[in-house]
Symmetry: C2
Subunit: 175 residues, 2 copies
Amino acid sequence: MSATKIRTTEKPAPASAVNTDPLQALDRIDRAILRQLQTDASISNVALAAKVKLSAPACLRRVERLKESGLIRGVVALIDPKAAGAGMLVIIGVVLDRSTPESFAEFEKAAQKVPGCMECHVVTGEFDYFMTVRTRDSDSFNRLHAEQLLYLPGVRQIRSFMVLKEILSTTRFPL
Amino acid sequence: MSATKIRTTEKPAPASAVNTDPLQALDRIDRAILRQLQTDASISNVALAAKVKLSAPACLRRVERLKESGLIRGVVALIDPKAAGAGMLVIIGVVLDRSTPESFAEFEKAAQKVPGCMECHVVTGEFDYFMTVRTRDSDSFNRLHAEQLLYLPGVRQIRSFMVLKEILSTTRFPL
DNA sequence: CTTGAAATACTACTACG
DNA sequence: CGTAGTAGTATTTCAAG
């Protein structure tokens, strides 16, 4: 009996590849699984198994491992913004009055409550924050601007960039 | 027998509510379904049915209707950026040299091919485009910046805003 | 450590009231 | 919409690579 066991099948996802690209460290099958699930996760496990040429139980185990490892953060339904009556997207750059921890904390707490706010990030450069907000149309954005954004705590300036055309908007990671 | 059939149970999602907020036009059950599926769509239909207090077939019919109506654009697995080795997010403002249709088209075609590019939008204001790009770290972003972004066609100026902290990043619509 | 085959439990789905 | 029945799937067990 040999001291080191040689794996005859394809090695499935090294558990701890910390210093290299985790996605490229996955084997071909795991990448195929992720590619599919990022595109359409409503597929049944047997159909997925057939696509990646694996038995259903083996496929299911891989999917569960990808979830437990945290690589798959979740499986969610995406709502079409236009169909939801929020076809307008605005990117908003925010500059705060003062750069104190309290000022930042207060703003962040309030910003998350802005209806339609999808993203809010602290950034380097000429702005303190970038937010993205979805609204119905320019009228409703004007209302949001006048009634909410201008009243966010500690704001010195906000600059709005209306999105005229969404070229690309994806949650998918290339594999 | 009466000529018009009166629905004794809650009315399920008016098919054509064009002039009002489509999300608010949904009944309580459809909203509960969407709330759940936006959070976790890996739930089984029977479990979902129990949550919204409906029989399984009725629940399934509603979910299918929400998909066919286009309100649910798809069901996808979300990959955790940090776990995928792309923990760094950069927002990039782009100004083009010339504002011609060819210039825009050429840029858009190239921008979508930038590895890690998650979003790309035409905007009003001092920039022509905003892009968001995910990379591993500042080193890999520097490489991307020097080797790809600076060579995007027709670019006069690009300004990068490094994201220091992601306060909010959601795909969820409030219901 | 993995895989796949078989058996069971559960679920999706259909027909109908 | 709900109940009941059927078809198909998820999930466990287990033997084997």
